[in-house]
């Protein structure tokens, strides 16, 4: 079953995931897709900031940080599932 990237940060399982969908159609969602969070892209949770938010993800060879509120827009499932 799909979860969002924000839930993954809670589970902190470090597994490779695949983006199922970026929900919403506004400028914010478009920007997330432009920086590489698009359907089919592999993504991995790396760590949370010392205060719990935001969190760091590995995406297309780079380290990117998103807040929980943005990570909630990104639905993911296990890679290859």
């Amino acid at each position: 079953m799909d979860r969002t990237l924000a839930d993954v940060a809670d589970a902190s399982d470090g597994r490779l995931l695949e983006i199922a969908e970026v929900t919403g159609s506004g400028a914010a969602s478009r920007r997330l897709r432009e920086i590489g969070f698009c359907t089919g892209a592999p993504v991995r949770f790396i760590r949370r900031a010392p205060l719990g938010d935001p969190a760091m993800y590995e995406l297309r060879g780079a380290l990117l940080s998103l807040r929980r509120s943005e990570a909630r827009r990104i639905r993911v499932h296990r890679a290859g599932a």
């Binding site: 997330l32 760590r47 900031a49 010392p50 780079a62 940080s65």
Partner: protein, 642 residues
């Protein structure tokens, strides 16, 4: 390294005149630009917007004269959402009253090439000739990744040059490339990328290009992972962050001070020498006290600006600045700002001028403006002399608890007051005036890298120059105007009286004194008399001028600052009446904590926001808040019997 085959020659070939350099933040764009121009950039602003403009001429040794390079702001995409992106797109499309560039060098970080190719597709879609500079290929190899620029060139149909900006490898190839006529149309593959509309399609295109090139993706950067485990650890990471803040404060308050004292001493000495050497006329005094001391008021900021930006640019280039923003983002999020605003606010404790200049790293225009508007509340070093004078005179030195005295606690309280009001105002602005849909927060955490000293030096030099040129001229003008206000109309010196007495008489009859008397009804509720008001008028040049002006206005033989405090509080042995009640003194302290009394800050706000609207707003709201709070303090303190 790369054979520069002429692909698809088309006639007639144009000689390039202007070449734009486009790339994502952290792609190595600036290092490349500096290497191509030989570290000679002209910094400025695009008209009507606050984005930095950097241009420079290609070094002659590459074979062509008059090739102008334009360093575009770092962008991830050409779908404009932020101001940086809007500017990049406008330049590429031929905006700002200039023709479109003759070609675009797209800078792509080889270690994250998958993220860079979509930008190339977008640039190609504009129809301009493009070529690719593939940076960080040494890092790619070190992490066992592989890509052959020649293969990529074959696939894309445009020249691809592998460069290592830090060691100058490939720079000659790239220089020769941008010197030569541009006539590359690109392959059918590149046009497929250019036709892609959705971001997904551009990324998919990029992956297909890389698949055709037998590219080997790099392994994760071990050093960065290892350092992050330590620097972002919940406990150790927080400790490192707090150490970083303490280090920053230390740099501001102790390391810059000797240079600042030296410069202000130098300018004071120069002014004194002029006064001694030239006949005592109004022109001499204007030159010494107005111009020379005015210039002094400007350059005294330089050591702090240079030091702060050296630290900021160094930490930015080595990768820790993004981590600091990552660590503190949650706290800043409580007041509606984000991690990157923190650095600017922190710098403002030295001086709001470099703090406001440091807001350029904040991508969201609303967050940036909010930070600019609240930064002047931070307790800058110019407030300290006034605080120290008033606290020493009016607050008892009695111990409260352990090593703490009322004086120490008051000073600490004033720091907390400034910080609290800054954060509170930010929250108010973000919920009211500057509310609106914002860009999603995202922050790229670049790998840790050793910065190139010349890039940092150049960045610091750019900012110092901008400060001197834009803010400096206004500060100087204001200093001269204030000198006139404090010294006119002229009055013949009375030989019977001492120099100090004569100066006091000139000041008492000056236009500034008239202004002080005019302001009496405004400040009467706090019981400030006209002499305090003159100090407030004079402190518009710079807050610390308050102390010198009060000393001048209460001038007596052998008067020093300690004596001034005694005189103000009436605590002298002669039992003279206090010139200021304790309630008024507290009100004055609060007034200084909140008021916008700094022309340099207003000048920088004007420069950074591109007009007088926001500096005028800052002036009104801060001074309004200062008056209200001072009045409230006076009422409460009077009621408490202070």
């Amino acid at each position: 390294m790369t054979t520069l085959v002429r692909l698809r020659p088309t006639a007639p070939a144009r000689r390039p005149g202007r070449i734009a350099i486009l790339g994502a933040p952290n792609s190595g764009k600036t290092t490349l630009f500096n290497a191509l121009t030989g570290h000679r950039a002209k910094a400025g602003n695009y008209p009507g917007v606050t984005v930095d403009r950097r241009e420079g001429d290609l070094q002659r040794r590459f074979g062509a004269d008059d090739v102008r390079l334009i360093d575009l702001p770092g962008v991830y995409s050409l779908q404009p959402q932020s101001e940086d992106e809007t500017v990049a797109v406008r330049v590429l499309e031929g905006g700002f009253g200039e023709p479109a560039p003759d070609g675009v060098v797209v800078v792509v970080d080889a270690t994250t090439i998958e993220r860079g190719l979509p930008l190339l597709a977008e640039a190609a879609a504009l129809g301009l000739p493009v070529c690719v500079a593939l940076t960080m290929i040494d890092e790619l190899k070190a992490r066992r990744g592989e890509i052959d620029p020649a293969e990529l060139q074959q696939e894309l149909g445009v020249p691809v040059v592998g460069v290592v900006g830090n060691r100058g490898l490939g720079i000659d190839d790239l220089g020769a490339l941008v010197s030569a006529p541009w006539d590359w149309a690109g392959s059918s593959s590149l046009s497929r990328g250019a036709e892609a509309k959705a971001p997904e399609d551009r990324f998919a295109w990029g992956r297909s290009v890389l698949a055709a090139c037998r590219r080997q993706a790099p392994e994760p950067n071990r050093w960065t992972r290892r350092l992050d485990r330590f620097l972002l650890h919940p406990v150790i990471g927080s400790a490192v962050f707090l150490t970083f803040v303490a280090f920053f404060f230390q740099a501001i308050f102790t390391w810059a001070t000797p240079a600042m004292d030296f410069l202000s001493g130098l300018m004071d000495g120069l002014a004194d020498q002029i006064l001694a050497a030239l006949p005592d006329t109004a022109v001499t005094r204007l030159l010494a006290d107005g111009v020379i001391r005015g210039v002094g008021a400007v350059i005294v900021f330089l050591p702090q600006i240079v030091l702060l930006f050296t630290v900021i640019l160094f930490l930015e280039a080595c990768g820790y600045m993004a981590r600091a923003a990552f660590v503190v983002d949650r706290v800043m999020g409580w007041v509606g700002l984000e991690g990157r605003c923190f650095i600017a606010l922190l710098s403002s404790y030295a001086c709001a001028v470099p703090g406001i200049m440091a807001t350029r790293t904040i991508p969201s225009p609303r967050d940036r403006l909010t930070t600019i508007l609240v930064a002047p509340f931070a307790t800058c070093s110019a407030r300290l002399p006034v605080y120290l004078l008033l606290i020493a005179a009016f607050i008892p030195a009695d111990p409260v608890l352990g090593p703490f005295t009322w004086q120490g606690l008051t000073l600490m309280g004033l720091y907390f007051l400034g910080t609290g009001v800054a954060l509170l105002s930010a929250a108010v602005f973000k919920r009211g005036l500057l509310r609106g849909a914002s860009l999603p927060f995202y922050l790229e955490l670049p790998p840790y890298r050793l910065p190139r000293p010349s890039d940092i030096a150049l960045g610091v030099w750019d900012r110092a120059k901008l400060f001197l040129r834009r803010a400096g001229t206004i500060i100087l003008a204001v200093s001269v105007v204030l000198w006139f206000l404090l010294n006119l109309p002229r009055r013949p010196a009375d030989p019977e009286l001492s120099v100090a007495e004569n100066q006091r008489l000139v000041l008492e009859g000056s236009y500034a004194a008239s202004a002080g008397r005019l302001l009496e009804p405004v400040f009467a509720p706090m019981d400030f008399d006209w002499r305090i008001n003159v100090g407030l008028v004079a402190s518009q040049a710079a807050r610390e001028v308050m102390v010198a002006t009060l000393a001048q206005i209460y001038a007596q033989e052998g008067q020093d600052e300690e004596g001034l405090g005694v005189l103000l509080s009436g605590s002298g042995e002669g039992g003279s009446a206090p010139l200021l009640s304790r309630a008024s003194a507290l009100a004055l302290l609060v007034y200084f904590a909140f008021a916008m009394q700094c022309m340099s800050t207003l000048a920088v706000i004007r420069r950074e926001t591109g007009g007088w609207r926001w500096p005028a707003f800052t002036f009104v709201y801060m001074n309004g808040l200062a008056w209200l709070s001072a009045w409230l303090t006076f009422v409460l303190a009077s009621a408490a019997g202070a």
